[in-house]
Symmetry: C2
Subunit: 489 residues, 2 copies
Amino acid sequence: MTAFKELMAYQRDTAALAQVAGRLGWDQETVMPRGAASQRAEEAGAMEAVLHARKTDPRIGDWLEQAEAPDAAGTSAIRLIRRYYERGVKVPADLAVAMARLTSRSQGIWAEARAKDDFAGFAPVLEQVVALKRQEAAALAEEGSLYDALLEDFEPGMTEAELEAMFAEMRPGLVRLRQTALDAPEVAPVRGTFAGKSQMKLARSLARDFGYDFSKGRLDKAVHPFSSGSGTDVRITTRVAEDDPFNCIYSTIHETGHACYEQAIDASYLLTPLGQGVSMGVHESQSRIYENQLGRSRAFCSYLYGEMQEAFGDLGVADADGFYAAVNRVHRGYIRTEADEVQYNLHIMLRFDLERSLISGDLAVADLEAAWNDRFKADFGYEVDVASNGVLQDVHWSVGLFGYFPTYSLGNVYAGCLMAALRRAVPDLDAQLEHGELEAATGWLRENVQQHGGLYEPKEVIERACGAAPTAAPLMSYLEGKFGALYPG
Amino acid sequence: MTAFKELMAYQRDTAALAQVAGRLGWDQETVMPRGAASQRAEEAGAMEAVLHARKTDPRIGDWLEQAEAPDAAGTSAIRLIRRYYERGVKVPADLAVAMARLTSRSQGIWAEARAKDDFAGFAPVLEQVVALKRQEAAALAEEGSLYDALLEDFEPGMTEAELEAMFAEMRPGLVRLRQTALDAPEVAPVRGTFAGKSQMKLARSLARDFGYDFSKGRLDKAVHPFSSGSGTDVRITTRVAEDDPFNCIYSTIHETGHACYEQAIDASYLLTPLGQGVSMGVHESQSRIYENQLGRSRAFCSYLYGEMQEAFGDLGVADADGFYAAVNRVHRGYIRTEADEVQYNLHIMLRFDLERSLISGDLAVADLEAAWNDRFKADFGYEVDVASNGVLQDVHWSVGLFGYFPTYSLGNVYAGCLMAALRRAVPDLDAQLEHGELEAATGWLRENVQQHGGLYEPKEVIERACGAAPTAAPLMSYLEGKFGALYPG
């Protein structure tokens, strides 16, 4: 057997084990008995140790020296394996172990602090997380930027400088749109009680409309919606609030976007380094374009309005226009995950700036809550009331995810580029969406983005799909068109 | 750290990984999307390879040489680890791999052959399984008996000779009871349509009655009922046939017995070698005593009769006596898993004798179907009609489980001993069972058997609980009392 074949066989087992570890996470969030949590932590830790040992096995280095790829997919696979391996060996084993131990503990401390709105209860452990994260970044970065080194885990090739420029381009337009919308009379939300069973039935039907293959996945309820797994076993979850059907509906469509990406990857890439979405930003572009550009479009809302009337009866809105306005209402709020398309990216910018300061050392954890609250006031115009609506609202930092937040906005930017290209490719898109026909749209995304998995670099896959390097301009133009019409000012 | 501590820490991770692998099996049988089967085979194979490598890691040998146990539990733990390790290193790695590959394939071939009633389609692969199994037994046995070496995997310390004597003691009484019952007028089964939802609701309630802790487990539907997992995550499955409520009810009670054993093991043994049931025979003693000696008793049937009338209305039997007779009816049949308490052990004896002949080489696979059919005719008095009712009915041999079948009867024998001791310990047991009160019975089993996990050797735990070495006499006396009364002849 050649070194290439040996390397790929080894990597295949590692990928299979990673799927098992991922499914353990799914199990924990959906079906695990509540009394099993502490045993489960040991099981997950043991799996993590196996995966870590495999990913840094020195045999990989030997194989990489000798492996010759037989084709383009092989070349990409070697490139990705080299990236993971070099990342793995740069971080000292005792640092990796310390980080794993700390973050398995710190997430619980965060959850407790959030429940009590007590940042001071979380700050000491967050300080330790930031300290270890800075050590990790230093090990990875060698001479380069600490934050860029962390970004690399989520969005290979992306830099702090590039994101800074992107956000600077977006900010004025978003602030203007937001102000106009908040100055206008508030649009009422859809009100009523929406039976959980009917919501789940509709969610299933919508997932199917958007191309989710239930023979290779399943939809369950969980506290936090997520998509999990690759290849032929990609499971999604959603949540149900009986007073707010859009929570369930748009969480489902969002996760369907993530899942369809994984399900659509070329079958020959299964359990190879190409067999999963190429980056967080590209992943998020799929979930966002399904959820927002398609799912919250005027045309699709007209179809959804009919579906919801059928499922729930009268919705208390005058007509499809009123429904569309309610779906896309811009209003005051604290929580990122509940924000509309305009304000969402402002939430991300706040986190991006604060986490960069934490990693650079310019901001101490002790000052983080005050910094968050000042910045929120400046950006949103009102005070944070409680820490769970502010600095404690997101899990990310508690588990050491620094450099992750900006990929959400990058996903929006990529979705903007893809939507413009999709509209050029499918001129009668709206006429199809009005009838709930999504095959042309999702088929175009499958063909141009999803099937490639990890074959191309993140920006490359967007550029190939759109015919030009991605910029924030299409997203901004889309938002200005959409929200300029909804809130003419 | 001492060698003992290092060994136990290593073993703990292995045990945690074994739990993950087991849960993957649960997932496959309950919630896995149907399109995921082939990916799942790779995932399970990768887990198996990790576990095999860990179990035969030469460091275990080094630790075992130096480890000093600090207490009795530690002594038992070392004894068990040594047993697994010595077993693991005796079997050459290429033989273990060949067996794993073959049996992952042969089970599918068996299922296909069973569906077509085509033993000839299964025979070639079974020949290979038997050949590898004989090699494995030879490697394990060194100079001793091949079959004893295989038994050791399921029932440490048990021998072919001892089982032969046990079956010889049981056979005449069972044949006599069976004949008397079959000569009597046939008892009609309970007939009707029993809604699946109501069956599952009753199953849940019965599992709870028998002490199953739903905070450390869950009950789902699966094609074949099973119990899976140890410690704080022990899940059971059952099945539902709308024309036969007893299938669901007694499968549930049976699996509850297995699961309660795992749930009751001393919490300090979690993820140690003591943290699971000590043998198949002792495990089966718990499932059987829950299902049969308790669940099918006259007293409990009177309670269950009321529960079932409440759940399903009129059952078409005259009274509690008629219900008890229907639950315990002895009638002609081909299938082991559907057999009553009398005939069940005759099914096992048939398999025990045939599989010993296969392993010794006295019986060729080519002659197995004829041998099965001849023996069935001799033991049961009528001809096997199709192979799925005969030699193809059980999955065991297809996956290389030789030496497993007798542990079912051993479980019955142990259950007989335990029931006699339980009656001595709880004189008013029937009065409690009549009201569905199981706490005294299950509490006694928890205290005297279940909590010990792997602390004692299998026979030792039964002897400690009963005050005397186990024999078949209490089971035979129980069966003669029960079925002699039901079928006085």
